[in-house]
């Protein structure tokens, strides 16, 4: 595997290798000398066409802990505001000798295009593309679920996870559905019908419009960010109605199993999809997700860059 574009491309073996490697990375960086020499002399470019400080910093820390040189390239202009084109940016990075490009882009498929259009030789890592995928987020979610529900190297087979909210516009949901199902988890999507894509019944997971009906049966609940502006496009009548039906608040959390946990990819809309009390509850693992993100991204960078330069033989 040269690129990480979609979790749909990961076999069970690949996914477990990444998670196991991340677990080792966690142990190795849990000591005074956090830095490893592994990627010394390699250049990782963070190419962000969209602001996302948390994802960029996470990749930056991961790359630096592996001793890679990191270049942050905040490209102005999405497809809408016609800045420098994706292709010209790619050619620039190629000229700079980038070994890996971590790309965040508002257009679905932009990382796929970057990897396949013959513009660049580098490894491409999708750090979120439009409403398509965000594979490392799903990997860190799976890592967090595993750590809490199955032990550091346990299996997620049969673990029940509800993904709640704006599935239609969520790249996190798509990546998680593929990955968690590959890992054997039982996924239920929970959303109003307007926020579920056409054809979702072919995704292989359960679908429910009723949060309360499924909540008690879950080992974990993954809350998705819901933008208030969706209200103006008639996806739901009001933020109040949305949070009443699909928000996670304390009374609702009380109906969850006592060992079940709450994830959120961040940034949270407190009061919208999640109440402040729930966000600060010890069973909510947002801070841990951030920590795990670094280890997962170290694993991905190591596995993709560690030896994928094909040797002549």
């Amino acid at each position: 595997m040269k690129h990480l574009l979609s979790t749909a491309d990961l076999s069970l073996e690949d996914a477990v290798l990444i998670l196991d490697t991340a677990a080792e990375m966690a142990l190795l960086t849990d000591r005074e000398v956090k830095k490893l020499p592994t990627l010394r002399g390699r250049t990782v470019v963070n190419l962000f066409f969209e602001d996302s400080t948390r994802t960029r910093i996470s990749f930056e820390v991961a790359a630096k802990r592996l001793s890679a040189d990191v270049i942050n390239f905040a490209a102005k202009g999405s497809s809408i505001s016609k800045g420098e084109s994706l292709k010209d940016t790619a050619l620039t990075l190629q000229a700079m000798g980038a070994d890996a490009v971590v790309v965040r882009h508002p257009s679905s498929g932009a990382p796929y295009r970057l990897a396949h259009a013959d513009w660049i030789d580098a490894t491409v890592i999708n750090a979120g593309d439009g409403t398509h995928e965000h594979p490392t987020q799903a990997l860190l979610d799976a890592y967090t679920l595993r750590a809490h529900l199955a032990g550091p190297t346990g299996s997620l087979r049969g673990v029940r996870v509800a993904i709640v909210g704006d599935v239609l516009h969520s790249r996190v949901a798509r990546s998680n559905v593929h990955l968690l199902q590959t890992l054997g988890a039982k996924v239920t999507l929970v959303a109003p019908p307007t926020l579920l894509p056409i054809g979702v019944e072919q995704w292989g997971c359960a679908v429910s419009y009723d949060f309360d009906e499924v909540l008690a049966d879950q080992d974990a609940v993954m809350m998705l960010r819901v933008q208030g502006e969706r209200m103006n496009q008639a996806f739901f009548p009001s933020t109040l109605e949305y949070s009443r039906l699909y928000g996670l608040d304390t009374p609702r959390m009380a109906t969850m199993g006592t060992n079940s946990i709450v994830l959120h990819p961040g940034p949270m809309n407190r009061g919208m999809e999640i109440s402040a009390d729930v966000a600060d509850d010890p069973r909510s693992l947002m801070v841990e997700q951030v920590t795990n993100g670094v280890h997962v991204r170290m694993a991905v960078l190591y596995l993709l860059l560690g030896g994928m330069k094909e040797s002549a033989s």
Partner: protein
């Protein structure tokens, strides 16, 4: 079973481990500060067996662990990425200890170089020594072992494989002609 010539069988290996253990005890003057760190995969089993032998000789426990060198290798660009193997530093750490690195075969010396780097990130031992079951020559770095089970002259075309009981089900060292 490998094709090739068996150069050490089970009793040869057992004898070699016994001798290595005696030499280590002697040179470290008692095992108080001794930490054995095996380099995965087979270095770990070797170091466990050496530790057991030393415990028999000295009648006291020996610190033993493992040190994965994967992330410190210098051939990452040449080979597919490998799964990481466990690093387990014994509870007492390695600070001011005498660390004996244990590996199955010493060849180019690059693994040992990586192990020294890895060790450096874990702590600062008083001294580091190297024990290997087989030294097959052809060093590419200025590294030499302190304790050797068997010196085995080979050509660079040959392949040396160490099999150990717990890992492979049998104790043997086999030399074969590498198939290109």
């Amino acid at each position: 079973m490998d094709h090739g010539r068996v150069v050490m069988d089970g009793s040869d290996i057992a004898r070699a481990i016994r001798r290595l253990s005696h030499e280590i005890v002697e040179s470290t003057k008692g095992s108080q500060d001794l930490v054995l760190l095996g380099i995965p995969t087979r270095g770990v089993e070797l170091s466990q067996r050496i530790a057991a032998a030393i415990e028999e000789i000295e009648s006291q426990a020996v610190s033993q662990g493992s040190l994965d060198i994967t992330l410190y290798r210098d051939d990452l660009r040449l080979k597919p990425a490998r799964a990481l193997l466990p690093t387990a530093i014994p509870v007492g750490g390695i600070e001011d200890k005498i660390v004996v690195l244990v590996d199955d075969v010493l060849y180019s010396g690059r693994s040992v170089r990586a192990a020294l780097d890895a060790l450096n990130d874990v702590g600062r031992p008083r001294a580091v020594r190297l024990a290997v079951l087989v030294d097959r020559g052809h060093r590419q770095l200025p590294i030499r072992p302190d304790f050797v089970g068997k010196n085995l002259p080979t050509s660079t075309q040959q392949l040396v494989r160490v099999h150990l009981r717990d890992t492979d089900g049998i104790d043997s060292v086999v030399v074969s002609e590498e198939v290109r």
